[in-house]
Amino acid sequence: MYVGEPLFISINTNDKNKTITLFDSGVGMTRQDMIDNLGTIAKSGTQNFLKNMDSSKGNTDSLIGQFGVGFYSCFMAGEKIEVISRTQDAKKASLWVSDGSVNITKLFSRVNSKFLMLKTATSLEEPRLSFT
């Protein structure tokens, strides 16, 4: 969650660090969400969300996630995956790191939201693709 911003997604690459950063101002995850959804293969957070969703108020067709495996495809391209996320009411963000080859390493540390902003600020420097 990036308070004060409209809903947007940005993709940025960094040649020097050889990283690709994907950022979204979506609902965000808590530390527990990360443990539950990133640490469990084939557990779809979206399907969980759909169960609790009132279909009269939202379009259920617009949600894509189904099988809970898509995220892991980034291990094909990246050696190390970092997920930093924060929910709207959370003051601190959480970090999830994994190298994917040996084991799913779950290093959870409470990250200050300033760190999250710093991290994302680099990706926000570029003219970003945003849609409301």
């Binding site: 994907l22 950022f23 101002s25 979506g26 609902v27 617009s62 949600l63």
Partner: protein
């Protein structure tokens, strides 16, 4: 099928088997379980040597063939996470570049969830409205 295996049917079956003289066994046994009555109709037939052919005897004991259901236990599937991750990352997708699409899908879902929670009043509005 099994519960329809009534005495007359079994009798005829036995007759046809014994009359074409392919039978070498002394006794041919049929077990038939009547599902509706939840009991086991036990019938056995004797061959010509000992008893009258086609005679149906109610068996005094439970048949030997019986499903032992006392050790029934429901077992869930277990998976080795490391192996599963390898399959997911290396076999599920053919192109490396797919991960961008997958991550975009996840982001899109995150936005959709945010929008839904804003609309339903569960989260406060974050978007800036310029008029």
């Amino acid at each position: 099928m099994l519960n329809k295996l009534t005495k007359p049917i079994v009798k005829n079956l036995f007759k046809s088997i014994t009359t074409n003289s392919l039978m070498n066994a002394n006794t041919l046994k049929f077990y038939s379980k009547n599902v509706k009555l939840n009991n086991i109709q036990k019938c056995s037939f004797a061959t010509q040597t000992s008893e009258k052919p086609g005679k149906i005897i109610d068996m005094p004991e439970e048949p030997e063939i019986e499903v032992i259901a006392s050790n029934k236990e429901n077992m869930g599937f277990k998976a080795e996470t490391r192996k599963l991750l390898e399959i997911v990352t290396h076999s599920l997708y053919t192109d490396k570049e797919i991960f961008i699409r997958e991550l975009l899908s996840n982001s899109s879902d995150a936005l959709e969830k945010q929008r839904y929670l804003e609309v339903t009043g569960k989260l406060k509005m974050t978007g800036i409205i310029n008029i």
